[in-house]
Symmetry: C2
Subunit: 341 residues, 2 copies
Amino acid sequence: MIFAKNTDEVSAMLSAGYRGRQVLAVADVNTAAFVPRGVETLVMPCGEEHKNIESVEQIWDFLHAHEATRDTVLLCTGGGTVTDTGGFAAATYKRGIDYLNIPTTLLAMVDASTGGKTGFNRNGVKNEIGCFKQPAETVICTALLNTLPREEILSGFAEMMKHALVADKREYVRLLAMLEDGSLQHTESAEFADAVKRSIAIKERIAGADPEDRGIRKTLNFGHTAGHALEAAAISKGRVLRHGYAVMQGMVAELYLSALKEGMPHEILQQMSSVMREYYGRAECGCNDMKELLRLMRSDKKNKTAGETNFTLLADAGKPLTDRHAGEKETEEALEYLFSI
Amino acid sequence: MIFAKNTDEVSAMLSAGYRGRQVLAVADVNTAAFVPRGVETLVMPCGEEHKNIESVEQIWDFLHAHEATRDTVLLCTGGGTVTDTGGFAAATYKRGIDYLNIPTTLLAMVDASTGGKTGFNRNGVKNEIGCFKQPAETVICTALLNTLPREEILSGFAEMMKHALVADKREYVRLLAMLEDGSLQHTESAEFADAVKRSIAIKERIAGADPEDRGIRKTLNFGHTAGHALEAAAISKGRVLRHGYAVMQGMVAELYLSALKEGMPHEILQQMSSVMREYYGRAECGCNDMKELLRLMRSDKKNKTAGETNFTLLADAGKPLTDRHAGEKETEEALEYLFSI
């Protein structure tokens, strides 16, 4: 992980090439201008709906067309769609070439670009196909965030809150304060950069201890069983629901279950419900069909046994509980609570 | 690795399920009957030309349709097309589920089904896309071979000769003797089963020491730089060239280079040229365009630097030399020798 102060620093870093090796790049329409001159670049459309096998095939064929070898490095710069599909294409081209991530959204910085999860959506399931491969390097530059719309910052901030909730109560309190004091409007500040660094450190510590998602890494799935179902429902209805917004909604539903089943203090549910209402708005995925949402949750990757839904819940902020189960009725109740606030 | 004496033993092993986990199967038209009752099976068409992304997508969607979870085990039974595409689909479905291999061809037994290389062809390049994932288990039953046509046995036997040539001179002499005494007509014999076991042991030892193909495993690519180019040329012309036949031809070309550049005894080149002529027939890939064959060699996965062709050559039987280079002229000379015999 390299932290860069500004975009000039990033450009300088890349224009020198990467250790004398061929560099090819994949970027989205917003980030293509950012790739150093002379680096052949595949420009992909933005958005979750393009996180599919067709995009991966485009990248494979782009690598082939430029005679990429096992020594080639693929630079992926953009949001999570670019880093996830680019990472997967790199992980599987000639059975694996190196890739670099330069995330340009807050969400990709704190989530997709670290930890080595790559992949794409299929059959209406988020990241149904993928593999684990660590990027050779990730460059983080929060100065890139200052042109992003507020919704994009909030989307990434939801994952930062998740990291705090599963790992560090003090950090959770800090982030609540940042929301209230307007810090999110100053992404160029040192304070904001430090919060991003702390968030990535939590992610790296947990993912690094369990790269293949068999134990402690499951804590990072907090908010994601319900969140992914809401997101998949939105995609199937052709609606835009940002990943971080879906995670925020998923966390509220799962905090409800945590309070109900694990004795988590109600205060946390109330705080996060307020955060959602005030900053993220109401839960609207375009699907109020409970049966459909429950079915989507059952097809989540985390479920080992068909027909049962696996959650990560909390006993308290900083105290995650993995491999918890909730019945259909309780889960429906949690979703009803979510839709009511 | 489990060795089974006969097909009853294999069926009994599988009808008990796999450690209480859901089993789904992928098989080709010749091997589907072999899957235990009650196991949902996707039947795929046979042949190298189906080793492509469409087959992989079919397997992904089959897993999805049967609500496969991370705990599901995919049984792959058939030739290399089934074990390679099935292994890749398993390696990438939900970022990786377990798979079992029951190879039904000699080639798949000694080559594709062990060592953890999975993948498929793209852009006319053999295994251009793939990843490394060891099968949870491989079951070897040479009794399955007795209905195979002679060409299929010879195809697998070429890889057995390769294993001997790169690792064990005594084994090479043994295999030459087996060819001459007609042992290949008795695949049900204990002698044949033992030769298969020894061949797999060589492959496992070398692949196990270097699972990701960075060092010693490259020795297993002997015969494959030229062989893959011949195979890719044949595919592009719509001709059938069995992998083992292509490897036999590739070995002869690369033995020529070994004698020319590395001082390998000419006797080995003569012996293998005779073996090819007598048992495998003339080299006919449908492409006599040297420029095209040289281009195909350059796009081989092993090449680190674009424009240069990497070979594994021999100083002698059992003495491989990796990362060797040959110029265009020498390579053309080797191909001309190959086409002349």
